[in-house]
């Protein structure tokens, strides 16, 4: 390291240490000690509990017969994607605003200053990977009872190396706007790779170049767990080689990043810290959106305004969706998954409840303009409608889009033979009211605006147990409303599924329709009575 840079960093370290009180040092040690202790106890207790549980031979066969390869490769692909997407707005090297102003703006070699932080980022990547590997080891060892040391070595080494690789690639993304833009645009492609890995099963793990680092990282683990993978030494070598190359490339390009980029990320980090401290995930999401907005640019799509007054808000919401088609894509994936799960395994109440929650999350992606309205309710003063009417008008476009998604998914399921022809009409007819229930549930949660200082202080004052429950209730309101509104109709229909008599099925359909209409009436009246958040 350059002598000036080393001396400056050493001076900063020394001054920071001098300003740290013994109490702060003690608190830091206590925190680390507590995390370490609880991790060790949790891992040991989990291991013992799994070991002493009933033997699950079916799981072992599934795991070693390709299941582990599937899960591991998909998890690693998705983990890498998450890491790279994180690097488009934060990444392994983030300075504070003060460091950008005083340290990076000084005439010291920037590459040296960045490398000091990059080294820490690579270590964090290795530690995160190793922690994941440890958890995987505990689960697999308890389930499979294979020789422990080879499995531990494979789990730790593979995931730790993969973590380092993810951090190094993260830096390459962070230091180049073009690469960051590419990551954002190529994300759907990576998701397709994950789907291919899942469908490929055991074949996803191999020593071929097209297996990718995820396949190479999973290979030794599969072999140590008793699966068939004779090529694992080559895979381990390939993973080590690609990780080494990535680290060298990252190290060499340490000076490439601009001060402007680091300053932008420092500002975002400060806001992100405040949002997370205040348990405000929406604030964090808005910061992320703002940070990556400049990378992908604005989609210059225009939609001619309508002539009728009542179409003003549906038109405005349509424009918003046109500019962010990813929201429709997410709604399609989430709602389609929920419908697929219910169609594949009918009659399972817990699964149906999970499917409703997943579909709710899809609907929530579509009500972003309404949430934006609640974020700055004063802006709605430009429009002539009462708050309640404004909310209802804002749900028109999301309901139509979600209905179209529901109809498309119903058609796909029918083509796959998962929806009986006799039930097709009823399923199609249910799309509109179910979409309305889901969107209005999302609107009921979204119209409250962001979790504010008042709510946070209330939760803080409620104590260690009641406070988190209060916050949890805040976040769970939307899914709970959706569940309360839809589980009744779903259960009514499921109860009739086993009865061949047409009149029993007709009665069940009538009951389900009545429950749906009641839920819609209650939700609509409640939304209409709302006032803007303070």
């Amino acid at each position: 390291m350059n002598q000036d840079a080393a001396a400056t960093l050493g001076f900063l370290r020394q001054r920071r240490r001098a300003h740290r009180s013994p109490q702060q040092r003690s608190d830091r040690f206590t925190g680390l000690y507590t995390v370490g202790l609880y991790t060790a106890i949790g891992a040991w207790a989990g291991f013992q509990a799994l070991r002493q549980g009933p033997a699950r031979g079916g799981s072992a066969v599934w795991l070693t017969g390709g299941g582990l390869a599937r899960v591991a490769t998909v998890a690693l692909v998705l983990g890498l994607l998450a890491s790279l997407r994180y690097a488009t707005w934060q990444g392994p090297v983030v300075f504070t605003a003060a460091e950008v102003q005083f340290l990076l703006a000084s005439p010291l070699p920037r590459a040296e200053l960045v490398r000091a932080r990059l080294g820490r980022g690579l270590l964090v990547g290795a530690a995160a990977g190793a922690a994941l590997g440890l958890a995987v080891f505990v689960l697999l060892e308890a389930e499979l009872a294979v020789p422990a040391w080879p499995l531990l070595a494979a789990a730790l080494a593979g995931t730790a190396a993969f973590g380092v690789l993810a951090a190094a690639l993260g830096w390459l993304v962070e230091s180049s706007a073009a690469t960051a833009r590419g990551v954002l645009l190529a994300s759907p492609l990576v998701l397709a790779v994950a789907v291919a890995a899942w469908l490929g099963g055991a074949a996803a793990v191999g020593a071929d170049p097209w297996s990718g680092p995820w396949g190479w990282a999973a290979g030794p683990l599969v072999a140590a767990a008793g699966g068939r993978d004779p090529g694992w030494p080559l895979q381990a070598a390939l993973l080590a080689a690609v990780t080494f190359v990535a680290v060298v490339a990252a190290w060499r390009t340490a000076g490439r990043v601009t001060l402007e980029e680091l300053e932008r990320r420092a500002g975002t980090r400060a806001g992100l810290g405040a949002s997370l401290y205040m348990a405000d995930p929406r604030g964090a999401a808005l910061l992320r959106r703002q940070a990556v907005g400049g990378l992908v640019g604005v989609r210059r799509l225009a939609l001619r305004h309508p002539r009728r007054r009542w179409l003003a808000l549906p038109w405005r919401d349509g424009l918003s969706l046109l500019r962010a088609p990813g929201r429709v894509g997410w709604a399609l994936v989430l709602c389609g998954s929920g419908m697929l799960a219910v169609a594949l395994v009918p009659g399972r109440r817990l699964l149906a409840a999970g499917a409703v929650v997943v579909a709710y999350l899809g609907a929530a992606r579509l009500v972003e303009p309404l949430r934006g309205e609640a974020d700055q309710p004063d802006a709605s003063r430009q429009l002539p409608w009462r708050w309640g009417d404004l909310l209802l008008l804002h749900t028109a476009t999301p309901i139509l889009v979600l209905t179209a998604i529901g109809l498309a998914a119903t058609a796909a399921l029918a083509l796959a033979g998962l929806v009986p022809v006799g039930a097709l009409g009823m399923a199609a007819a249910a799309c509109l009211p179910v979409a309305a229930v889901l969107v209005w549930s999302a609107a009921i949660a979204g119209q409250r605006g962001r979790l504010g200082l008042d709510q946070f202080l209330t939760a803080s004052a409620m104590g260690e147990l009641a406070g988190p429950v209060y916050l949890l209730r805040w976040f769970a309101t939307g899914p709970l409303v959706a569940l309360a509104s839809l589980l009744g109709p779903i259960l009514a229909l499921q109860s009739a599924a086993g009865r061949p008599l047409p009149h029993a099925q007709a009665a069940a359909a009538t009951n389900a329709a009545a429950l749906l209409v009641t839920a819609l009436a209650v939700q609509g009246a409640w939304l209409r009575s709302r006032h803007p958040p303070d």
Binding site: A379, Q382, P384
Partner: protein
């Protein structure tokens, strides 16, 4: 018989805990009249405007716009408000903001022409297809003003409208407001820039610690003892 006031405040009081932001305010603004609120920071100007706009509820008293309260659509349609900092939707362009507001207020066939005219007036034509995040603060303020003017109104509320505006845009806004007044619109504005208010305001109200300390014809109030004592002149 005098024309009915478009805006009437009777004994309006607004408190935040123990802090009294506006205390027993009585005010009437008639069609074709412009009233300017002046006072130091924290004197209650913005709170008064937000109370009139229906963004705050009075702790006591009554606010009436076009003969009704702000819960009524008729009153909401009568009032156009420009807040002190621009509040724009991040996913709509400047042109789309104007189209949305005009459409929502029933501006029919002439909407496109009206939008083009306002963009031209505020020198925003070349930025019409920009999102708010791509504009400077002054440009966003112009867009906010254009949104307030694209629709018909009986009462226009402006909170520090010239902050961040360049001199040509200040002049353009002044001309528009004088024309709106001549067309019968009532205007209530708060500003620290008395040069902007002169030639526009008919009456002035001096606020201090939430109370009206002087009100009357504009020229006599701004040259009056309270304005001098508070250093507002």
């Amino acid at each position: 018989m005098a024309t009915q006031p478009v805006l009437e405040l009777r004994g309006v009081r607004r408190t935040y805990g123990e802090l009294v932001a506006v205390d027993l305010l009585d005010l009437k603004v008639r069609p074709g009249e412009c009233v300017v609120l002046i006072g130091h920071n924290g004197s209650g100007k913005t709170t008064t405007l937000r109370l009139v706009a229906g963004l705050l509820e009075p702790s006591e008293g009554r606010v009436s716009v076009a003969g009704g309260d702000m819960a009524q659509e008729r009153s909401r349609a009568a009032l156009s408000f420009v807040p002190d900092s621009p509040l724009l939707y991040p996913d709509l362009t400047v042109r789309e903001h104007l189209e949305l507001v005009g459409l929502a207020h029933g501006v029919g066939d002439g909407l496109d022409g009206r939008v083009a005219e306002l963009l031209e007036l505020f020198e925003l034509t070349s930025r019409g297809d920009f999102l708010p995040g791509q504009l400077s603060r002054g440009m966003r303020q112009k867009a906010q003003l254009a949104c307030a003017l694209v629709r018909p109104f009986q009462l226009l509320l402006l909170d520090e409208p010239v902050v961040g505006l360049d001199p040509p845009s200040q002049e353009a806004l002044h001309r528009i407001l004088v024309a709106a007044k001549q067309d019968g619109a009532a205007i209530l504005l708060s500003t620290h820039q008395l040069a902007f208010a002169s030639g526009l305001a008919d009456r002035a109200v001096v606020l201090h610690d939430g109370r009206v300390v002087e009100q009357g014809p504009y020229a006599s109030v701004v040259d009056g003892p309270e304005a001098r004592r508070l250093g507002l002149r």
